[in-house]
Structure formats: structure tokens, C-alpha cells
Symmetry: C2
Subunit: 432 residues, 2 copies
């Protein structure tokens, strides 16, 4: 099965503007509920519509044993059954959906009854968490981010820890609290130690932050004891989403030595509802930053393993009518690639499963307006972000809305990652 | 529904010696496969037998709506559906099984046909991983263990980090590699830095260790944003198992700063096949160590929140005919209780789900023969463990078998936690 990208010249019979995130070259997967009574099922975004893959399968339109009407993985409330089927089946499904949506294919275009069963307006459906996340891993793979954090807390000469340039540092995150875009984010309470000379106290986090990340979902996993090698890693990856790894910096700072972040992160992680297939991103491959020292052989090859995906963060305070862009960066800044992350993750024999989420860590670029967290943008509160309504922000306030967007810019089209969005809700402290 | 313990004087019509881990006072749950062709289902251990709860339900012997023949959660390959039903249902099931196994109940005792469907010899069945673990959290709650590790790496004056006495330090572990007792443990490969003055290298871990832990499984979880309070925490806990948190100390040492343990742990975590209900452990409550400073209110009350459970580790080298006990300790040494761990874990609103595993961290006692890891028992290799066959061990060698046991000693009976067992297999390095 070919990995040939869908040509830039292809168009759908559905009208999709050239700056729309979901042209026929994208075809990302999600889980949607057509209406409040209906069962969730697998959908593909095209323009402002969702294609119901379960309905396509029931109409007998998939020409593949694993996808036919009796056997299809699309009547499901997660993408996991489809993800488990592997890349040849993903490509067969993508090829069919592409064919059916093309402007010169009559099957769907000219059959109003079929269209009414298969196509829904995105505005009319509810998007659900697309994947049941077995394990969530968060890496720390942006050199600029790690350097910024290290500089703030340890000074520039010790910014990067000795292991950082040798392996993609990562840690296990909390899978249960991964939520879909739009889920309200309750300000967490917990133990903080704002005064170095006083005991810790309980209360709402005062230093609530976002982290702009990309995440990939494992499609086909590996058995315990059998590593995925770097050269094979991408064939295991189903696709990518945007990730906001919400962080409570005060809780995190007090708890994280020596075992790493825990409650400072586990209250919520937001993912975008659409998972963009690796094949849609193929035209946007690029080389990542030069790696010096040279990584060990198990982390190679790493040529053209990065992806040119523009990213931005917007913030809207309760007083503002529209969001304001506070950061613009790019996924290609990542020092460690997804390929290296997956090879490293499994080099000890650790098994992965369909639906595992591996996030990049905060993505920061080289300039002050390309940092991926408020901690960095406002430099630990010393340079508050100036908002257009005259207010300032060093960390998030109740009612603040955080929106992340990502897209790969093609020639006359863009491959959008969709958005992650969340509004900060007031804390709900326990009674003393 | 009462939490009255099953009286010490009760006996089953099945013969169970007084030092057997599974008397009628215990009744732990597991998942078993009666034979290679059969579907897995829920079982309860009694003496050397397994009671097939699916068969009991099909015989109409459970007098509870949630457990009747049409509706029962026992034809399942995990305990999760049963765990999700909550404590009143757990107690109803336990009460029925207890009644049916009692020496003076004729229902099962005198019905050979029913007995043949319901009772299996443990030797004839295969025990499976009892729970689908959504998230696995590992705490670090033994003061003696944290002090030993801190002393080795930072000296006795800085042994405990500043946060340790204020909160139960913990981190997210890897759920995918939780395996049932008996699963072979392949020595992990990975990146280590044995020589401080040379670059890191790839290869098999040279410092493979075990960690003796207890783990509890969440039964009923909590919604995102709604903490479980300490006073309610135990009603959410389904039961306890033994845990061996296998650790590769060389991989761990090089990777763990600043985000915590990752590949040094994620290659395997072994749990015992039987999950002992909290109600079986009720008679063994005890007060834990005095906590000074006094914990914050959200970590209270903590009276009688510890459990007196004897624990031991045995090691058998390939040259030995029988295992040798190398450590004896007790679960009641834990500084932070399960109640406090669960209250802390959710204080930020983190949700938990049926089947989440929370382990204690290595359990070490105050004496040199009560430490829960080889790192401590052999004090970083400076005091190798002397084995009866004349060999020495500082860390695990290929072929070594590690066995952990636990039991609460009652008056004329013991509540056994069963065993975790694993044999170290040679590494399978990648070709360079």
C-alpha cells in the first residue's frame, strides 16, 4: 500500500477554502456523536463536515476485509480498534475516503440519500475524546524549553542536565485525566510552599500555566521485551494531535524532587479532537536540529524525522471579545524526534499498546515570542504578558480561555491539527 | 452491609491448614482460566481450590440484582467490572461466597455435580493478570527506604528531601508492563553511564534489582475535579496485592533527573494473582508511625490506617534447590498510609478509575535484614548478600528467581497475599 500523499491539486466536491484546516489532503480521524441520542462512531473531517465512517461501512463502500460491513471498527467510541489494525488498513481506509470525497467521484456526490446518512455538519455533532489512552508519556524534547527552564531555576551554565543531550528525557503522565478540547479546566488545589521559610500550605494553585505540545498516538504497539527500532518507529504511529499539558507550577515545584512531576500535571491534559494521520504530514518532513553529541546507534537513523508544523497559542481573558496570539512556534524545533522518542521508550523492552499517547513536551522556539508556556513567555513573572485589553498575565486567571492551533502549510492548502481549547474554572477547595 | 470480619472460628467444608494463605477468612479474588480452551472468569481462592464465581452466578446462587445470572460481572477477563460496582456489591458477593463455603452449609458441600462445576484445583488452572490497570502510580512512602536511598546518594544529613515529611511523594508508573506473577523478566537494555568521565553506553542493565511493595487497586473511582477525602478513601479501595517493582538501577540513575524514573522501571512490574479484599484485612489494622510534622488537614484523619502484614523476599540462584529468605519486613512500617496516598493523589482533582493500581514504594524496616531492595540489603554493593550455596549477590543475575510473600497472622489462621514470583531472563540486545 502506497504512502503517496494526496496531490495538492485534488479537491473535494465539498467546498473547502484554501486556508481551511481540513481539506481533502488531511482527512483526520475523530470520534463524534451525531446527536444526543446516537451512539458515538468514527468520523473523518472534511471542511466543515464530518464523514461518518460507520455509515460508509454499512453502505458497503470499504473494499477491505478488515473494514467491510460485518467487520468494521468504526462503530466504536474510540479509535483504538481501528488503530490496532495497522498501517495497511489505515491506508486502505484513507484511500477509500479520499476517493469518495473527490470532486470527480459520483458515488457520494450524486446520491443525496447516501450523503444525508454519511455527512454531518461539524456544528451539529459533539466531538468526544478520540482515543482511550492506555498510557500517557510526556517527553521534554525541546532544547529551547529545557534550556529556558534550567536557566530560570539553575542558571545558564547548568541549564541542561548531563543526560539531556544523550537521550530524550521523559516521564509517565496520567492517562485518566486526558480530556478532549472544550472540557473546562478546574483550577487545582494542592500543597504548595510559597514561602521558603514557612511550612507548606493547602490551597488553589496560584501559578496555573499551559504547555503547548504535540502528541502522537501509537497505532500498533510492541510486545513486552521486543523494542521498536528507530527505523521502524514511524510505521507504529497512527497520527498526531495538539496537546495542552496544563501545569500548576507551584504544586509542581514543591513536589517534583526526586520522582518528577505528579499532581502539578495530573489534573488535566487537553487533546484536540482530530488525529491527523502520519500520511497527511508526509510532505512536511524536515531535518531537525543537528544533534551533537551524536546519539547512540539505537536512536538512529534520524534523517528527515521532524515535521514543519506551525503552532500558535492564543489567550482570551474574560474581559476580551476575541483571543489574542501570545506565542508562535514550530514543531520542527524539537531536538528529539518522535522516531527517537518511541525507540528510546521501548529500548528497555517496555511494551506499547494502541492508543498510547506520547507528547513532545513544551515546544519553545529560539525567540521570546515563540515560547510554549507562560512560565517562559512571562519569564517567571518578571515580564508579564501585555494583553490588548490593558491587563497583564504572568499565569492564568479564572475565566481565561487558552486556544492552541497547529497547521502544516502546503501549496494552496493547509493540514490543520485542529484546536485545543479550555477555559479555567475557579478552584473548589475542600472544607478545612 | 456490614464490615464484620468473618469469625476466626469459621471453617470451610474444604480442608484448609491453619498456615494456609487462603482460609475462609480471606477469600481473595483473581482471574483464572480453568483450562486452555476455556474463557477466563472471576475466581475466589479457598485453600488449594478456586471457586468459579461465574458458575455460582449461573447456578443462581447470588442473591443480589447486580450479581444475578443475567447480569453478573464474573464472566470477565478482568476484575474491573466487579470492582466498578462498589463496596455494597463487593460485600454481598463476599457474604454469599463465605456462606456457601462454610462447613455447615450444604448447598455446595453436598452437591457433587455443582461442586464439580464450581470448584477447581489451583494446580489445574492458569492465573491471569487480575486487573486491567488504567493508571499505575508508585509512591515512595517508607521512611526507612527513602532514608537509606538518600543516605547512599546524598549522605545522612540530606537523606530526606524537604517535601518528604509533608506529602506522600509519588510518581506515575507504566501500566502496560504490569504483569502477573510467574511472568519471566527479561533483563532490560538501555542507556547507562557507568563511568562518570566517559559518555553513556547502550547495553544490558548491570544493576538489576527488585523492590518489595504492596499495592492497592481502586474499586470505585472519582470524577475529574472531585477529590476523594481521607475519611472516605478506604471505601474506594477494592483490595491489595503484592508488587515487585523491578528496577534497573544503572538506567534509573542516568535518566531520572529531573523528571523521575522512567525506563529503569517500565520494563516490568509484577503483581500477585490474588487481590485480597479490604474486609479480610480489617482485623489487622494498626496505627502507623507517628507523623511529625502533623500532616495538613486534607491528609487526616489517619488513625488505624496501617495494616500489620508480614512480608518476606526470597531469592533462589540457578545453583540452589530451594529459595532463601533475604528480607523480612512489615507493611505497618509505611509512614504514609493508603488512605493518605489516595487523598493526596486526588486532592488536585485527578480522577481515578476502577482498576487503578497504587503501590507503596519499597517497604524497608529499621534493621538491615528488613530492607526491601537489593540496593539496600547489599548497601550499594558494599555488603554483598551471602547465599547458602556460597555465592554472593549485590544485584540480580540471569536465572535468579525472586519470590515475595505476605500474610497477616490471625488467631489460628492467616490472610495470605499470595506470592509474586519472577525469574530473570538474559537480555536481548539490539544489533549494533
Amino acid at each position: 500500500m502506497s504512502s503517496t500523499p494526496i496531490p495538492a491539486s485534488d479537491a473535494s466536491f465539498l467546498d473547502v477554502p484554501s486556508d481551511h484546516p481540513f481539506p481533502i489532503q488531511n482527512l483526520p480521524y475523530g470520534i463524534f456523536r451525531p446527536d444526543a441520542q446516537a451512539e458515538p462512531c468514527v468520523g473523518v473531517a472534511i471542511g466543515d463536515h464530518v464523514v461518518d465512517l460507520a455509515a460508509l461501512a454499512e453502505a458497503g463502500l470499504f473494499d477491505h476485509d478488515a473494514l467491510d460491513a460485518d467487520n468494521h471498527p468504526f462503530h466504536a467510541d474510540t479509535l483504538n480498534p481501528f488503530m490496532a489494525l495497522g498501517r495497511p488498513v489505515w491506508r486502505a481506509a484513507r484511500s477509500t475516503v479520499h476517493h469518495l470525497l473527490k470532486s470527480d467521484t459520483a458515488t457520494l456526490r450524486d446520491d443525496e440519500s447516501l450523503r444525508s446518512r454519511v455527512l454531518h455538519a461539524q456544528d451539529d455533532v459533539t466531538m468526544l475524546l478520540p482515543v482511550e489512552v492506555g498510557d500517557y508519556t510526556d517527553f521534554y524534547s525541546s532544547r529551547e524549553h529545557a534550556t529556558n527552564i534550567g536557566t530560570m531555576f539553575r542558571g545558564p551554565e547548568n541549564a541542561l542536565k548531563p543526560n539531556w543531550l544523550h537521550l530524550p528525557v521523559g516521564y509517565h503522565g496520567r492517562a485518566s485525566s486526558v480530556v478532549v478540547s472544550g472540557t473546562p479546566i478546574q483550577r487545582p488545589c494542592g500543597q504548595r510552599k510559597p514561602d521558603d521559610d514557612a511550612p507548606p500550605t493547602y490551597g488553589p494553585s496560584q501559578l496555573l500555566d499551559f504547555e503547548l505540545e504535540m502528541g502522537f498516538f501509537v497505532g500498533t504497539g510492541n510486545a513486552l521485551g521486543t523494542p521498536i527500532q528507530a527505523k521502524d518507529a514511524e510505521s507504529h504511529i497512527f497520527g498526531l494531535s495538539l496537546v495542552n499539558d496544563w501545569s500548576a507550577r507551584d504544586i509542581q515545584k514543591w513536589e517534583y524532587v526526586p520522582l518528577g512531576p505528579f499532581l502539578g500535571k495530573s489534573f488535566a491534559t487537553t487533546v484536540s479532537p482530530w488525529v491527523v494521520p502520519m500520511d497527511a504530514l508526509e510532505p512536511f518532513r524536515t531535518d531537525g536540529p543537528e544533534q551533537d553529541p551524536e546519539p547512540l546507534p539505537y536512536l538512529q537513523p534520524n534523517d528527515r524525522a521532524n515535521f514543519d508544523i506551525e503552532l500558535e497559542v492564543q489567550l482570551q481573558t474574560p474581559e476580551m471579545d476575541a483571543p489574542h496570539t501570545i506565542s508562535q512556534t514550530n514543531f520542527n524545533y524539537m531536538y528529539w524526534s518522535m522516531r527517537q522518542q518511541l525507540a528510546h521508550h521501548t529500548v528497555n523492552g517496555c511494551n506499547t499498546r494502541p492508543g498510547d499517547l506520547m507528547a513532545s513536551g513544551t515546544i519553545s522556539g529560539p525567540t521570546e515570542d515563540s515560547y510554549g508556556s507562560m512560565l517562559e513567555l512571562a519569564w517567571r513573572g518578571t515580564k508579564p504578558i501585555q494583553m490588548p485589553d490593558g491587563s497583564e498575565r504572568s499565569f492564568l486567571q479564572d475565566g481565561d480561555r487558552v486556544i492552541m492551533r497547529g497547521w502544516a502549510q502546503g501549496n494552496g492548502f493547509r493540514i490543520g491539527l485542529g484546536t485545543t481549547e479550555g477555559v479555567v474554572q475557579p478552584a473548589q477547595p475542600l472544607d478545612a
